[in-house]
Symmetry: C2
Subunit: 179 residues, 2 copies
């Protein structure tokens, strides 16, 4: 399982960024997101709602105590930070890890202890940018781009790619079983 741990959500201010973290985690192949910081039912429901309509088994959790969670996590802790080691230098090692992984993303203020608790502190470039971007690019490199072609089972709607315009179809489960 690949979990994403999103640190320090702030209600209101982080609404859209935290939502994007959840959607990116799902779309780029993680199995679940765990939010810490403010408990924000509405924001989490909006991520669950997308997961429900667009398919797959993505899960959304809330965890009050991130430190306790990470201390008892049985698997590797991967922290994405602009201060860490270049992703290209470590991605092959990460890919070979057996067992669960949790990918930790900030958060306005990342506690210093996290750098020590993490098995890997990994930088997606050394420039300031975005936890949303860091998560997407990390997962894309981890899965070598294959995650973008993944089919999400039990989707209620799906996109049919177009050169121009939009095509979204409702998935008729009975029909698709027949074909």
């Amino acid at each position: 399982m690949i979990y994403v741990l999103r640190l320090g959500h702030r209600k209101g201010r982080d609404l859209r960024i935290s939502t994007h973290c959840g959607l990116v985690a799902r779309a780029f192949g993680a199995d679940a997101i765990i939010y810490t910081g403010d408990y924000d039912k509405k924001m989490m429901e909006s991520v669950k709602d997308v997961a429900d309509r667009w398919g797959g088994n993505f899960k959304v959790f809330y965890e009050k105590q991130w430190k306790k969670f990470l201390s008892s996590f049985e698997g590797k802790i991967i922290h994405l930070t602009m201060y860490g080691l270049p992703v290209d230098a470590v991605i092959n090692n990460i890919r070979e890890i057996r067992g669960d992984k949790v990918i930790v993303i900030g958060g306005e203020k990342v506690p210093a202890e996290l750098y020590k608790m993490a098995d890997y502190n990994i930088a997606i470039g050394k420039q300031p940018h975005s936890e949303v971007a860091a998560l997407a690019v990390f997962l894309d490199k981890l899965f070598k781009g294959d995650e973008l072609n993944k089919d999400f089972e039990n989707a209620k709607i799906k996109v049919i790619p177009q050169e121009k315009g939009k095509k979204v179809v409702e998935v008729n489960r009975y029909k698709s079983k027949q074909s």
Copy 2:
């Protein structure tokens, strides 16, 4: 030149997402971002401020009329949308384009005409996620990851990658000229 056009910024609501779009554009190798929608001086200043401290020649512009801008743009228009063609199918063609490119990203509501104006409508996966993620992954694929190792000239500060913790140094221009 590679421009990013960020459609329909809304003051307040989109503050953090639009800021992340600007930082991602810069960090992943674009030359400039152009914001449309609400004029938001403070948000644009915050992106410029990062560009100033962390180096390079990244530019930030505002454009009231996106349609007029795109109509007179002399180069290729690349629109990132979950409804478009898979990025893997077109990225090699995009890489070979000579001349300027503008990468267009939404915005809550993307006008239907944009799909027709665009030379390419490209999907970073067929799932709903984030314009910040789409932009980062697109640029990372365009530059084959090399953008992450780029040095930004005239930086006032830079990161020295660490296995644990943070190391940021102030760049002493006189000294660095000597060494």
